[in-house]
């Protein structure tokens, strides 16, 4: 199942991981990960909770030490020279805590000091404005979403070459999620490589060009996002104005009728694109249609079923 892309010359790689292992006591969090991410790429790191996404990112930044394997970021070994890596990287942790008594601006100045940088405060204010974040209040008075915005700003404010983001849109409302995605795209346009983890399929589809899927500490798939999207499952509940003959829908490729609730409603599952189904529905008296994305775990199970 594992597909890799080892053919890229290393100078083109932003991230190179070989055989990375990490255990917490008896729990094997990473079981020999191999992964390459090219420079300038937006790479989605997808996996259910507990799959090993956070552990991978923390190993790459030398926050925790792997038990085995090798990695390099921008051609630098994080174990040998963590400070150089950290200087070139912007990191957004999955769980973030700040100094509650500081104002947003003071907290950001603290992070700026930790980098020994002369931060472009015009740029920081611009980021805060785009994320609709007031820099004056104390952090203890902020919501989880606003704290997430601080995390995003501190990761971006020094214009890093590489962004390692652990669930960057967590806790944000849909509008702000879009704004964060837009900020990441802007950073990518100026040359930054973006490696971000998520357990939300649609989020990854929205931004990443390639996706790595991790499950139980192993990379199970590395693929172009478009390929993954074609395999994506959608579940539809369709209500008709009157009872209709739905058998022909079930005969369409990639469409499976799960249940027929009554004469007027059916539940369908579609894998890949829905073009054929939409064409077929165009000839029927559709009252409404509700689409639901399956959970990541269900998607994995479908992969495995198909592979078997």
């Amino acid at each position: 199942m594992r597909s890799t892309n080892y053919n890229k010359p290393s100078q083109e790689l932003a991230i190179k991981i070989r055989g990375l292992t990490k255990s917490y006591g008896k729990v094997r969090a990473l079981r020999g990960i191999d992964l390459d991410v090219g420079r300038g790429e937006i790479f989605g790191f997808l996996g259910p909770n507990g799959a090993g996404k956070t552990t991978t990112i923390r190993c790459l930044l030398d926050i925790i030490r792997p038990d085995g394997g090798k990695s390099s970021l921008l051609g630098i070994d994080p174990q040998a020279d963590p400070v150089s890596i950290q200087a070139l990287t912007g990191y957004l942790p999955g769980e973030m805590q700040f100094y509650d008594n500081l104002t947003v601006e003071r907290q950001l100045r603290f992070f700026s000091d930790m980098r020994n940088l002369r931060t472009e405060w015009g740029y920081v204010r611009q980021l805060a404005e785009r994320l609709d974040l007031d820099m004056k209040p104390q952090i203890k008075n902020l919501s989880k979403g606003n704290k997430q915005k601080i995390g995003v700003i501190q990761a971006l404010m020094h214009r890093p070459e590489l962004l390692l983001l652990d669930e960057p849109t967590s806790g944000l409302d849909p509008l702000m999620q879009q704004e964060v995605v837009s900020l990441l795209r802007d950073a990518n346009t100026t040359g930054a490589t973006i490696f971000f983890s998520s357990h939300i399929m649609s989020e990854v589809e929205n931004i990443a060009k390639r996706v790595g899927i991790i499950r139980k500490g192993e990379i199970v798939e590395v693929a172009e996002t478009s390929i993954l999207t074609k395999r994506t499952l959608n579940r539809l509940t369709i209500r008709f104005k009157q009872a209709v003959e739905v058998r022909e829908l079930g005969n369409l490729p990639e469409v499976e009728i799960l249940s027929q609730i009554d004469g007027n409603s059916i539940n369908l599952q579609v894998s890949g694109d829905m073009e054929n189904l939409i064409h077929a529905l165009g000839r029927l008296p559709v009252l409404d249609l509700v689409s639901e994305r399956p959970s990541l775990e269900e998607v994995f199970m479908t992969y495995y079923k198909n592979k078997e």
Binding site: Y24, G25, V27, A29, G50, A51, G52, T54, T55, R58, L61, I63, I64, R65, P82, V83, S84, Q86, A87, T89, Y91, P93, G94, E95, M96, Q97, F98, Y99, F110, F111, D113, M114, R115, N116, G151, Q154, G217
Partner: protein, 285 residues
């Protein structure tokens, strides 16, 4: 070096509440205790009678005798410096164990250490920051004890008053180093603070009881408090003891540093009271 100084500066600024609280508290205590000596001397006979009625063991516990109580050194030893190592010791134990683990257990260290500081610069920046904080607290305390000396019959100069404060500073540094080291070796900050505090209190009682019971003398020599000196002149100060305590403190700091640069940084909730080999640690994978 710049990274170390940045961490030092932030640590020192972040401790301003402790500096004001502990430093001014200590100074205020000095401002109250020094004028008390004049009252003490003025009513010397009554005090001497009262003190004579105390069991000699009680006075010996605090390192005093009936005759020494009316001397400046005896008075300060009994009423000021006998308890100060314990009082400032509370600060030491809290500050040392929290120096790095407070941020780690609250989930802040993960992001801080991902900045280009370097673990060694971060560790020593923080350690020097707390040393500077401790020094400031002791200077404030010394000033408080010295400001009213001119109008007092204590006949102790500012320089003489600095001597017990130097010894107190060494005691404080010892417990900061101890609790810092233990915080790096033990599974949680609370556990490190409790163990350090227990060592501090045991040290105080064993050393004090050794004044009453000679059989405890050998054990007392193993206790840091035994080497706390309340003498009022540099000539009487045992510099060997000062150097030994500072040396042991330095070794404990180095052990803490070696552990810190090698270990994983934990996320919030991963530390616990329980020992790691007895517990299942919660990990965000």
């Amino acid at each position: 070096m710049k990274r170390l100084l940045t961490t030092l500066r932030h640590t020192y600024i972040g401790k301003k509440a402790q500096i004001l609280g502990w430093g001014l508290g200590l100074a205020l205590y000095g401002l109250l205790i020094v004028p008390m000596y004049d009252t003490f001397v003025a009513q010397g006979e009554q005090f001497q009678q009262m003190i004579s009625s105390y069991p000699p063991e009680f006075l010996a516990f605090f390192g005093a005798t009936v005759n020494s109580m009316l001397t400046p050194a005896g008075f300060l030893g009994m009423y000021a410096f006998s308890m100060l190592p314990i009082i400032i010791g509370i600060f030491s134990v809290i500050a040392g164990s929290a120096l790095i683990l407070d941020d780690e257990e609250r989930g802040r260290l993960d992001l801080i250490i991902a900045h280009p500081i370097g673990r060694s610069s971060f560790f020593f920046g923080r350690t020097l920051g707390i040393l500077a904080t401790t020094l400031t607290i002791h200077i404030l305390g010394w000033l408080g004890f010295s400001m009213l000396l001119g109008g007092s019959s204590l006949a102790v100069s500012w320089g003489q008053m600095a001597v017990p404060f130097l010894s107190l500073l060494v005691q404080t540094l010892f417990y900061i180093a101890l609790s810092l080291m233990l915080s790096m070796l033990m599974p949680s900050r609370n556990l490190a603070a409790v163990v350090s505090g227990a060592i501090m209190v045991t040290s105080y009682f064993v050393s004090s009881l050794a004044s009453i019971n000679d059989s405890m003398g050998a054990l007392a020599k193993l206790m840091p408090y035994h080497y706390f000196q309340t003498v009022l002149s540099f000539q009487e100060l045992n510099l060997g003891w000062v150097a030994a305590l500072l040396g042991i403190s330095a070794i404990m700091i180095v052990i803490g540093w070696l552990r810190f640069i090698r270990r994983d940084i934990r996320l919030r909730g991963e530390g616990s009271w329980r020992l790691s080999f007895l517990s299942k640690r919660r990990k965000t994978i």
